[in-house]
Symmetry: C2
Subunit: 293 residues, 2 copies
């Protein structure tokens, strides 16, 4: 799992470094990720790690370029990890036929359908493998201080990885935020297509493990720190792919108030990076509260 | 010249609006541009206009997405105009053969070589036609308060359009800034290729009209407001395509001090948007000093 550095770009006094390595979790394929290290990390301080999960069709680059996260992270002295959104080059029949399934659309699950199970394990890749390779490479990151956020499919990923980790008691992440997340995927076309494809148990299996709205119902009184923003002019929201109201209702029914689970409807914003960049600094600062506590 | 709106994305409480229109300056082809209008403009106030010129291969989108300009412009209450970098679809033989000449590489000149002269007139397009269509459409922009900036080829464009306008007495722009500009194009391969292609008079014609280092020598004591940033790890800088030292020397020889012409060498930064976004807010605030004076 030795890391190969592909590029390094100075930004906001830090460095955005792109690495690749042979990923066991993804069946031996090469995987790439970007890691932003702020100036204090480059000077030797171990800094907190905020993982950002991208949406459908994206790579490790899109949000690093367009999210407006690097400046705020530099200011806060926080590293940001940008994983890819799926394995690349598995060569599975049909994996490049759709923009919302297969390549670029790993949905942050571990596939159980035998056709996909060797390669499509983005859950393990993000939560276990990437922290391990970062630690093995002795990068200046403090893995006891992690948080997670994401957009759309990546918002689904951030919410489910975070809530699962709270539920299991592992508590890998201190806080979670999401832009326009797919918040109740078992009840939307994107989620149903993904789960019926990747999971042998289909929607039922997903309901147990991969649906933020279902997961938060199970949490009981365990404290959480969640921030969600979505735009009212988001066509995917309007078409029922995101369903943040379902997540919000489940959170309130489970007893979480708006300090613990804050869901904000942002008037007139859409699904694009123009929306996300507007609130990017806000999300980084939200996580800094917990990462630097 | 009626404007057709293609899209509108809310960002930082403003709107980034993409328009297209049939461009006379570009020989009747359709041209697109983005215009960011901050909230105060949407509410009816006429706001200053900052024009951003992109570099080689870019369209009107790249810097709007990656430059980190919209947030600062929203804060200052300034509109930003993002033109394209060349005509599209002229169908001239060879215009898509190179990434540094033809499509995506208009170099902000008016072509005099008959082969290119009908379409490749980005100088007129940017300085005259776009302000005219904006005025004709009654967009909430105050054209008596304009400034200009750009990156690489667009930095060349910003410097030459600004300096020419000071020299001619038109004074269309109050201030000029550039990221990694091609600052002495008659002496670098990019500029020589472009000028020998577009201009009947080749380098000699360019020396008169389109070279920032030559133009500033002619200015005498006319006051100017210029800010330039370039990175020491920029490979195009290291390979002699940018030559900011030549521009700086010419400015000092002409009697301009570092208040009037400030050229900053930024340690370790490269040619990318990771560099530009780092100093994006700084440049917008620089222009705000003059646009809001």
């Amino acid at each position: 799992m030795s890391l190969e550095q592909i590029s390094s770009n100075k930004s906001f006094d830090g460095q955005l470094i792109k690495y690749k390595f042979k990923s066991a979790a993804l069946g031996g394929l090469y995987a790439q990720f970007n890691l932003f290290l702020p100036a204090n990390a480059l000077a030797g301080t171990k800094v907190p790690l905020l993982t950002y999960l991208s949406g459908l069709t994206c790579t490790e680059d899109n949000a690093a370029q367009k999210g407006n996260f690097l400046g705020p992270a530099a200011k806060e002295g926080i590293a940001i990890l940008f994983p890819d959104t799926s394995p690349r080059g598995a060569g599975i029949e049909g994996e490049t036929d759709s923009w919302d399934f297969g390549v670029g659309a790993g949905f942050y699950v571990n596939a159980t359908n035998p056709k996909w199970a060797k390669h499509y394990n983005m859950l393990t890749h993000v939560t276990l493998e990437l922290p391990q390779v970062i630690e093995a490479a002795e990068l200046p990151v403090d893995l006891t201080r992690q948080s997670i956020f994401g957009h759309s499919m990546g918002g689904h990923g951030a919410l489910t990885l975070y809530l699962s980790s709270v539920l299991s008691g592992v508590k890998q992440y201190r806080s979670c935020s999401a832009f326009a997340p797919i918040a109740n995927p078992i009840n939307c076309p994107w989620g149903q297509k993904a789960f019926n494809g990747y999971l042998q148990g289909g929607i039922e299996e997903a309901k147990e493990k991969y649906d933020a709205t279902e997961l938060i119902k199970k949490l009981g009184k365990e404290p959480v720190h969640v921030l969600v923003d979505y735009g009212t002019a988001d066509n995917f929201y309007k078409n029922g792919q995101l369903l943040p109201e379902n997540f919000l209702k489940a959170a309130r029914d489970a007893g979480y108030d708006e300090v613990q689970v804050r869901v904000r409807s942002q008037d007139g914003y859409d699904h694009s990076y123009y929306f996300m960049s507007t609130f990017g600094a806000d999300h980084v600062h939200f996580h800094a509260n917990f990462l630097k506590a």
